[in-house]
Amino acid sequence: MRIPPVLLAEDDENDVLLITRAFQKSRLMNSIHVAVDGEAAVGYLSGEGVYNDRARYPFPVAMLLDLKLPKKSGLEVLAWVKQQPGLKRMPIIVLTSSRDIRDVQKAYDLGVNSYLVKPFTPNELTEMINTFNLYWLVLNEPPGNPR
């Protein structure tokens, strides 16, 4: 059985690189699919267009979501996902640089599963990804495949 990927909605190339590095360092089995803006994230999840090919773009086990995304903000993506009957149970973890209390509360109001602030150093990031892996991908009982 194929291990489902993690969807990373992140527009900052550098952050993508650092997060990918952290994934490698923490020896995650899951692959990472990157959506570079909010619309791409929505497209991936709804299986529209090129994403219809679930062999190439398998349904993710969880999504790491940046808030500051082009085209559709992270909060908009979050709101959309939580309204989709087939998607709403997928764990979504915000991973952003904003500590702004309004962002935090808005995200929780919209039903986010966890809210993480990007750490400053790569070591801290690796540690965080490790924990994410252990908790969400290993310990956490997934809600089941929507399809």
């Binding site: 550098n14 952050d15 500051k68 640089s97 904003s98 500590r99 400053f120």
Partner: protein, 577 residues
């Protein structure tokens, strides 16, 4: 009937003050020819000099005697009226009344003190009170004695007093209306109603005049029982220079509209039953603000009573009009002020929102590239150290350190600017709990640096904002832990004391390097640093001061170089404490 001197006749009637003498008496008594002459003269003198008119008449009303008071009252001399009929003095519509009186006399009845109106020689009416008694002669009624008292003056005074009372009542009513802030329009209608109830005026208008603009506006117009409002019209030609000058001088003018030049729209008024217009000025504090205009068919309707009342009510109405104008002005000003406050508040809210957006983007966008710099430098050191010589590694570490420092600075700046924004909600705080939380935050650092902390604190309560106070005290503790003297074992002492009645002072004392007095003010300014040997962004103490001020408190320091520093924060006590 025998010819007699009137006084003779009267004296036989009024022979005594005792009115019983007027009753039928045995003839021999009355006809006592021996009657003494002295008594007769005395009575004649009394009659003649009486202040009441005393008129003797026969049963047909023919005047037989006429004293001096009668002459004064009616203006006729004795010679003029003697043998004329008393009806001469009676207004034609009252003749029936006279005949009824004579009828009663013939029956031997008296008429006492009835109020009557009589006509004097000059045609003027006299208000009189009349008593008539039958006169007997030989047991037979032969005539009557009429005593007439002039009531005109009394009546005039009564009428004056009645008018005066009514005026006072009306003025009082106006006062009440003005005090109750009834609208000038309501007051104006009241005034017109009162005047119209006194005289049947077909038209009346209350006009407010704006001399500067050459315009007048009717506050209230009354015509044939109906009120209308707010008609604007030009001052000319109704208000010619003569009229406006008279008004300015406070004079009441009566004008005949028919005498004005023909103007379109005016003909109707000129022909109408209100062609005479009485224009009464309305003044308030010597300033002419308008006029009260009464229209009538004839100028005779403008009696003194009407004019006096119109003037008085008009002046009070002027007060009401002016008060309303002032009230409106105040309301306009208040509304303007409110609008201005609302505008400013909106501007401020917008500026605040813009600032918050700015802070947000600073915290997000400015820090992201820093994190990248830091991240890749560390990744470089971690993943590729073997390819770098020690100098290269040192450079990479310096880049990472600079990025970290800049990030720290941005965060400090953000917390400083957040302190200046928004409202700080103050509530009673338990100092003990706050200090415990602060020490918990710094527990690791304090332990690592082996700093000895003592807390001397009566459990005091201050009025503050929890997050801000933690920030303030945290920065002071951080400060104390930073500037340690390498020669001494570092110590921090936190204590609190009541300061005067209303304040609490919290001291954070250290035995560190101390601060020279000349620098003690500067250190609370943002970005001020005294030494590069210690890490920092120069925002810590600025945050302390800003935070304390936001909570209505103050900060200060007592220090000498080498002798440690004693920082204090002063905060208000809660009102009940």
């Amino acid at each position: 009937m025998a010819e007699r001197r009137p006084t003779e006749h009267l004296s036989s009637v009024l022979g005594s003050a005792d009115s019983s003498k007027l009753q039928p008496q045995p003839q021999d008594h009355m006809a006592d020819g021996s009657g003494n002459a002295h008594e007769h003269d005395r009575l004649a003198a009394i009659v003649s000099s009486s202040n009441d008119a005393i008129i003797g008449i026969d049963l047909d009303g023919t005047i037989e005697s006429w004293n001096q008071a009668a002459e004064r009252l009616y203006g006729y001399s004795e010679a003029e009226v003697l043998h004329k009929n008393i009806s001469l003095l009676v207004p034609p519509d009252r003749l029936g009344e006279m005949h009824r009186v004579l009828e009663r006399i013939r029956r031997g009845q008296r008429v006492e003190h009835f109020e009557a109106v009589r006509v004097a020689k000059d045609g003027r009416l006299r208000q009189v009170s009349i008593s008539v008694s039958p006169v007997y002669e030989g047991g037979r009624i032969v005539g009557a004695a009429t005593i007439v008292r002039d009531n005109s003056e009394r009546k005039r005074l009564e009428e004056q007093s009645r008018q005066y009372t009514k005026r006072l009542e009306l003025l009082h009513e106006m006062d009440r209306k003005i005090l109750q802030h009834e609208s000038a329009r309501e007051c104006a209608e009241f005034v017109i109603r009162q005047l119209v109830s006194m005289v049947a005026l077909p038209r009346a208008t209350i006009t407010v005049i704006d001399f500067n603009a050459g315009k007048a506006r009717s506050l209230v117009s009354y015509a044939k029982g109906e009120f209308s409002h707010g008609i604007d019209y030009p001052l000319e030609p109704l208000m010619g220079p003569e009229l406006s000058e008279a008004l300015r001088q406070g004079k009441t003018s009566i004008m005949d509209l028919a005498s004005l030049q023909q103007v379109e729209g005016l003909e109707r008024l000129q022909r109408a039953e209100s062609r005479y217009v009485c224009v009464v000025p309305m003044h308030v504090q010597n300033e002419l603000i308008g006029s009260l205009n009464l229209g009538a068919r004839t100028h005779e309707l403008f009696s003194e009573e009407v004019l006096v009342l119109a003037r008085e009510l008009g002046d009070q109405l002027a007060v009401s009009i002016q008060q309303e104008a002032l009230r409106n002005q105040i309301q306009r000003h208040a509304a303007e002020l409110e609008q201005r406050v609302a505008d400013r508040t909106k501007e401020l809210a917008e500026a605040n929102a813009a600032l918050e957006t700015f802070s947000y983007s600073v915290s997000h966008d400015l820090r992201a590239p820093l994190r990248t710099m830091q991240g890749f430098t560390e990744a470089l050191l971690e993943d590729h150290a073997p390819q770098l010589d020690p100098v290269g590694q040192d450079y990479a570490r310096r880049v990472a350190e600079a990025a970290r420092r800049l990030d720290r600075l941005i965060q400090d700046l953000l917390s400083y600017s957040r302190l200046s924004q928004g409202k700080v909600h103050l509530e009673p705080l338990d100092l003990h709990a706050v200090v415990r939380e602060v020490l918990l935050d710094f527990a690791m650092e304090l332990e690592q640096q082996k700093i000895e902390v003592t807390v001397e604190q009566p459990s005091l309560t201050v009025l503050g904002h929890q997050g801000t106070l933690i920030q303030v005290l945290g920065n002071l503790v951080n400060n104390a832990a930073k500037f340690v003297d390498p020669e001494r074992k570092p110590q921090i002492r936190i204590k609190a004391e009541g300061f005067y009645d209303r304040m609490v002072r919290v001291w954070v004392e250290d035995n560190g390097i101390g601060i020279a007095p000349e620098h003690q003010e500067r250190i609370f300014q943002i970005f001020e640093r005294l030494s590069n040997r210690y890490p920092g962004t120069g925002t810590g103490l600025a945050i302390v001061r800003k935070g304390a001020e936001r909570m209505g408190g103050r900060v200060g320091v007592v220090s000498q170089p080498g002798a440690g520093s004693r920082f204090w924060v002063e905060l208000p006590k809660p009102p009940s404490a």
